[in-house]
């Protein structure tokens, strides 16, 4: 088979062969390809030849000389010649046999993308898919079921057995009682986080495989432009609702550094991860008003902080270019595999951390350090209008977002948190610093300086907003 190349306009071909002659070292690419990339001003290659090629100046001369022959940039001409050749080949190899089948998906596509129909569709998906399925069924029904099972059948047995087997109270506390590895760590992981994460990932996989998410990007592109992001940034944002750590890594797909910084900050601040979201939905689902205030406030903070950072940060605004895959009916097998793999990954990752957290709490209690921190946090809690028990929840939140949220769920079930306090705690905890994993990913992707600056902003901001919400709700006499 002879390999067929694209033929470029005469002037460009001439420049290519001139540059080819001037190149002396091995670039791991053909000289023709290097010449073409140089003509298109590829930065990495220009830097390389500046260092290594003796006739660097001469090559530059050829490039400027060639540019003079064209009114458009050379890169544009090269790209369009290639594209023309490609379309010609496509025409020859492609047989179209009339298409009517596409019409239904085409109509569906238009419905999801048009704001007039798209927004109600989005709200419907959010209501039934996220609120009803994850919030009410996952975080409500399922959690209740497993929690009750734990509290009736497992915890008392564990408490009794450890009490008989281990004579020392100190060691008993490590495994059982209020903060034990089994009675707290494993209970949180299995009874609270697992059902929430499972229902969420199931829903998420279905949405993902149907091709709906890129359409959501199109729909919100305009709103995102206002906060310095493009519709493209919807991908990490939506992924953030699954896991903020993973989403922080995916900000790499954004075009400009500016966009990456804004997206990372918003992920750390205003996007709750699946476990946190599920637990918060579960907490607030008995109180539609509270849920509305929480979500409204989150959207407000998201837009406000995004808008302000977009004003403050210098740099080029992002464009928007993205592939839109077709709408498909998800395959059951694929959805289940995906959900299973994510659950497994999640569970394997969090279980040791929950156990570690139990051990740390145990150590902290033993040494008195834990009480010290809690006592220091208590005034802050009272200042926020929260019961002082909430201090412990915030301390848990350092370990993992979901751990903190799960702790809050516990307080709620014991009847300690109620009404207005739920909203304030939910808001503060959502805004609050991300989990350790996300924090380290931020360090890796954005560097120490940017990460520390973000942290320095997020800490006081979260508490300030909590205070503000409590103040406003109290002043307006709102209660639930």
């Amino acid at each position: 088979m002879s390999i067929n190349k694209v033929k470029y306009p005469e002037q460009i071909e001439k420049a290519i062969s001139e540059i080819e002659k001037l190149l002396t070292i091995d670039y791991k690419l053909t000289k023709r390809s290097v010449a073409l990339l140089l003509l298109q001003k590829d930065e990495a290659l220009l830097r390389e030849i500046a260092q290594k090629e003796p006739s660097y100046e001469k090559i530059l001369e050829v490039i400027t000389e060639t540019e003079k022959h064209f009114t458009e940039p050379i890169s544009y001409i090269i790209a369009s010649v290639r594209q023309e050749t490609a379309f010609k080949v496509e025409r020859e190899a492609l047989k179209e046999e009339g298409s009517e089948k596409a019409s239904i998906t085409e109509i569906l596509h238009k419905l999801t993308v048009n704001p007039i129909t798209g927004i109600p569709i989005m709200l419907l998906i959010l209501y039934y898919g996220v609120y009803k399925f994850v919030g009410v069924f996952g975080a409500g029904t399922l959690v209740d079921l497993i929690e009750t099972f734990f509290e009736k059948n497992i915890n008392p047995v564990v408490n009794q057995v450890t009490a008989q087997v281990i004579p020392w109270k100190v060691l008993q506390d490590l495994i059982a009682n209020d903060y034990g590895i089994i009675t707290l760590g494993i209970r949180y992981a299995v009874a609270i986080v697992l059902p929430v994460v499972t229902t969420f990932f199931l829903m998420f996989s279905i949405l993902e495989d149907s091709g709906y998410l890129p359409r959501l990007s199109l729909l919100v592109d305009r709103a995102f432009k206002a906060i310095g992001l493009s519709g493209r940034a919807v991908i990490p944002m939506v992924l953030g609702f699954g896991c903020d750590t993973m989403a922080t890594m995916v900000t790499r797909t954004l075009e400009t550094n500016r966009e990456r910084i804004i997206a990372t900050l918003l992920l750390a601040l205003a996007i709750p991860c699946s476990a946190q979201l599920g637990v918060i939905l579960g907490l607030l689902s008995n109180n539609p008003g509270a849920l509305l205030i929480w979500s409204g406030f989150m959207i407000f903070v998201f837009l406000l902080v995004g808008f302000l950072t977009a004003q403050l940060l210098p740099g080029k605004r992002a464009g928007f270019y993205m592939e839109i895959p077709p709408l498909r009916i998800p395959k059951v097998k694929n959805v289940l595999t995906k959900t299973y793999v994510r659950m497994k990954w999640y569970f394997i990752e969090i279980l040791p951390l929950f156990i570690l957290a139990s051990v740390l709490i145990w150590l902290g209690k033993l040494t008195g350090l834990f009480d010290l921190i809690i006592r220091a946090l208590e005034p802050v809690m009272l200042w926020l209008g929260l019961p002082k028990e909430a201090a412990q929840v915030f301390l848990f939140g350092f370990f993992r977002r979901d751990y903190g949220a799960a702790g809050m769920f516990d307080l709620y079930q014991r009847g300690i948190l109620a009404g207005r306090q739920l909203v304030v705690a939910a808001i503060t905890l959502t805004l609050f610093i991300p989990c350790i994993a996300q924090f380290s990913m931020m360090l890796k992707e954005r560097g120490t300086k940017v990460t520390l600056a973000m942290t320095a902003f997020i800490f006081p901001f979260a508490f300030l907003m909590g205070y503000l919400v409590n103040f406003l709700l109290t002043a307006l006499g709102v209660n639930f």
Binding site: I3, L37, E90, K101, E208, I235, V250, P326
Partner: protein
Amino acid sequence: MDCHNCNRSCHHAGGRYRRRFGFFWQKAQKEMCEEKLLKFALVGSPNVGKSMLFNALTGAYVTVSNYPGTTVEIARGKTVIHGREYEVVDTPGMYSLLPITEEEKVARDLLLEEKPDLVVHVVDAKNLGRMLPLTYQLIEAGLPVLLAINMMDEAEQLGLAIDREKLERELGIPVVTMAAAQNVGIRELKERVAEYVNK
């Protein structure tokens, strides 16, 4: 074809010496085999099914999402064709050899630094014309390219048919049509990869 033998000797050779000097034996053999392990890379624009194909080839599981640009790191796995092992590399999506985003840079660097024995350019059958410019760039770069036209099922639903042989003649490289999600064409792709690499 020595590699074939090498692979075999890796798994079957043994005996007294091996038991006694097991560590050194294994190490030496391993180095020999790794040297000859052939490598092919999956490249292409985002959302053409590279990761799905990677899963189908290697049996490993990389999260596949139906929205573009979520593969941000390089995934590696192994596949066996005719009893011989090949390394398969999945790359983040790229539109051209002239990179714009960080992830595109990752894919280009891989092609240049690692020089795979074969570059499988995966494209979406529905958007063939828009994707061929990258094929040309890969050919221009002197890389050994195979064009894998994926999502044929969806193209057929749209009433599109592709004349594979004509395309092979026009481009001068091997072309395979497939639907990775349906497990269609995977075997043929493997055949053609082996054929190409052993040529």
